[in-house]
């Protein structure tokens, strides 16, 4: 059973620069060869000011921007070998383009325990709020991790 006193805990902020090359790399790994993700020139030719974020670019901000994430999750008592990814959700609140610098703050916002036939599981909701260099909240990421006991 998860220690619910940790709900509300937040971790030190991390920063990540939005990079064109990381957007292109993600699109290509997904198998999306849409030219708007490939270069600034292609994006501008299609009418965008620069390469737009891929819909799932926020996952790269979390993994590449917060290299301490695995240790931070472990500090909550989460055994990463027993974690399943339950849900992932993004709210895109303001335009974000390469060259922007985002500051992310990760927080444990909820923890629920559920009894199952094989034992119990904990559902942990983790949010990351991203603010840009102008102080504007541009992105909210929400994840539910399922931790099997």
């Amino acid at each position: 059973m998860f220690d619910k006193s940790k709900v509300g805990q937040s971790f030190p902020p991390f920063t990540i620069e939005v990079e064109r090359g990381k957007i292109r790399e993600l699109a290509l790994a997904i198998g999306d060869d849409n030219p708007i993700y490939q270069s600034k020139e292609n994006a501008q030719a299609a009418g965008y000011p620069d390469v737009p974020l891929y819909p799932t670019s926020p996952t790269t901000f979390a993994f590449w921007g917060n290299r301490k994430m695995v240790g931070q999750l472990a500090s909550l008592g989460i055994n990463l070998m027993r974690v399943l990814h339950g849900e992932e959700e993004y709210e895109y609140l303001a335009p974000t383009y390469p060259g922007d610098t985002l500051t992310g703050v990760m927080r444990l916002v909820d923890a629920k325990s559920r009894q199952t036939q094989g034992g119990s599981m904990d559902l942990l909701t983790i949010e990351i709020d991203y603010t840009n260099q102008h102080g504007t909240l541009v992105l909210k990421a929400r994840q539910v991790a399922i931790v099997r006991e």
């Binding site: 990381k22 790399e25 993600l26 290509l28 790994a29 997904i30 198998g31 999306d32 849409n34 708007i36 299609a46 009418g47 965008y48 000011p49 737009p52 974020l53 891929y54 819909p55 799932t56 996952t59 790269t60 979390a62 993994f63 590449w64 990463l80 070998m81 399943l84 990814h85 339950g86 849900e87 992932e88 959700e89 993004y90 709210e91 895109y92 303001a94 335009p95 383009y97 102008h134 504007t136 929400r142």
Partner: protein, 149 residues
């Protein structure tokens, strides 16, 4: 800061009706090479997704794909349909594991048209399923669309 007015329009509010199907997206079979590329692109180096030995040790029976890769496939569906900068919200639940050689098809339907803060919005549901119809991901999205008039 960039405004929405500077991005191209893929779809107008008037052209979408509740019940419309989003043009489906069928992906190439998931390959080991793709998972290695996706690990590098996303920064998620959990060996469950790249090392067959680990998969056997923890009982998943070989490599399983990153759930976030499948969310990325659904992201491509939405990027193709409304364009990446029209998305306001995109969330998924992970329902099943994807294995090598699975062929994922992404589909979606428009469920709602409404106004929020004086702007036109559409909402829809999306899913990704394999060649046997086994659902891997279900989700929802909200997009902001311009009006013709």
């Amino acid at each position: 800061m960039t405004t929405d007015a500077q991005v191209p329009v893929k779809l107008y509010y008037e052209d979408v009706q509740v019940g419309d199907a989003i043009p489906k997206l069928m992906k190439s079979p998931v390959s080991h090479l793709q998972l290695v590329r996706y690990a590098g692109a996303s920064g998620d180096f959990n060996p469950l997704h790249t090392d067959p030995k680990i998969g056997e040790l923890v009982g998943t029976g070989g490599i399983i794909a990153h759930g976030m890769l499948i969310m990325g496939f659904v992201g491509q569906l939405l990027s193709d349909y409304v364009g990446p900068t029209a998305l306001r919200k995109f969330g998924v639940r992970f329902k099943g594991m994807t294995r090598l050689d699975d062929v994922i098809t992404c589909t979606g339907t428009i469920t709602e048209k409404y106004e929020a803060d004086g702007a036109a919005r559409i909402a829809g549901k999306v899913q990704a399923a394999d060649q046997n119809g086994d659902v891997k991901v279900t989700g929802t999205f909200v997009a902001a669309l311009p009006r013709r008039s």
